[in-house]
Amino acid sequence: MTTMAPDTGAQDTAGYEAVFDAAVAAEERIEPRDWMPDAYRATLVRQIAQHAHSEIIGMQPEANWITRAPSLRRKAILMAKVQDEAGHGLYLYSAAETLGTGRDELLDKLHSGRQKYSSIFNYPTLTWADVGAIGWLVDGAAITNQVPLCRCSYGPYARAMVRICKEESFHQRQGYELLLALSRGTEAQHAMAQDAVNRWWWPSLMMFGPPDAESSHSAQSMAWKIKRHSNDELRQRFVDICVPQAASLGLTLPDPDLRWNEERGQHDFGAIDWTEFQEVLRGNGPCNDQRIGQRRRAHEEGAWVREAAAAYAAKHGKATA
């Protein structure tokens, strides 16, 4: 079941820890009511919450273009995608809830800035091509990150990720198709696609997090099998995937140092501007205030809907729990 109170209060912590360690080592999944180290629980809550917040904040930059989509087909696709992001947020909030952290608490922490979301969503969507670049690059990077999470040691998180990854595949492909249409279009459309890729490429590489040497949570998360691959490993995988895809699009990636390294069997790529990453993380990105402001406003303006639903349930006595 999902939200039973965990069996805690055991005196024999060492014994429980041994069972937990053995389960993780044997590639078994940890389930909500199992004993788990406090730090494991806290790490999962932090990561799942940040992930859930990213999904719902991520609705904003794309929703920005729904009313201006160039055709009914594109509009229907974009609406379905944005709706999926809401769904992904809900799967993840449910997973976090199995660890004993309520949804309202998580939303409060998002609204008050105590929990973060992926800094990629603090960049603006300036043109229609940005919708394509987000699908191809941002969702592509997310998929690269998320596929290994389907094997995460915590069962509810892994199960949520299986659903999410299935659905993300459409997100990435629609973005690629959108960019391809622009790239093969008029000169102005091609330029618009190239400009979007130029702006989204580096922030997408930053989505994998700081270099391994500076990543504070990585080693422990790997030991717990929450994380399966290092930040740099996943970033490299993403670059290698994107290079031929960019060529098929007829677009270039904005990195003069990007080239195939025969010896490594991988692409070398240029240095990432981590100062920019830290600045955006610190709240100084182009859209940080706008994103959180919009989220708070949506929550407040939706209060009457929640109240009405609750009043209806109370009046008709259908709430059974």
């Binding site: 999902t2 929640r306 259908k318």
Partner: protein
């Protein structure tokens, strides 16, 4: 009643006729009717289901999470409940 007080519901989806309902996940809703609607929007956006059950999470009684629990022990030492326990001479068919 605020959002925080909305009960949690477990969602079970039958993906097609002939299959059992299986657990898909959980969600919050003020009442059963809204829980069903939310479950449809959340778990069957791609025609994953032809039927949905929602059950208040509090209505579920669960066994202990410990798999070594004596609760399951009676089944552990009875291999003769499995067909592979029995040796049958080679050549005997339809058995």
């Amino acid at each position: 009643m605020t959002n925080a007080d909305w009960p949690l519901w477990e969602v079970f989806v039958r993906s097609r006729r002939g299959l059992a309902h299986t657990h898909a996940g959980s969600l919050h809703a003020p009442d059963a009717e809204m829980a069903l609607r939310n479950a449809r929007d959340l778990y069957t956006r791609r025609s994953e289901g032809v039927s949905i059950w929602v059950v208040p999470s509090t209505a579920v009684t669960a066994s202990s999470p410990d798999e070594k629990d004596p609760f399951f022990e009676p089944a552990a030492d009875k291999p003769y409940r499995h067909p592979t326990f029995y040796e049958i001479p080679e050549g005997v068919r339809h058995l």
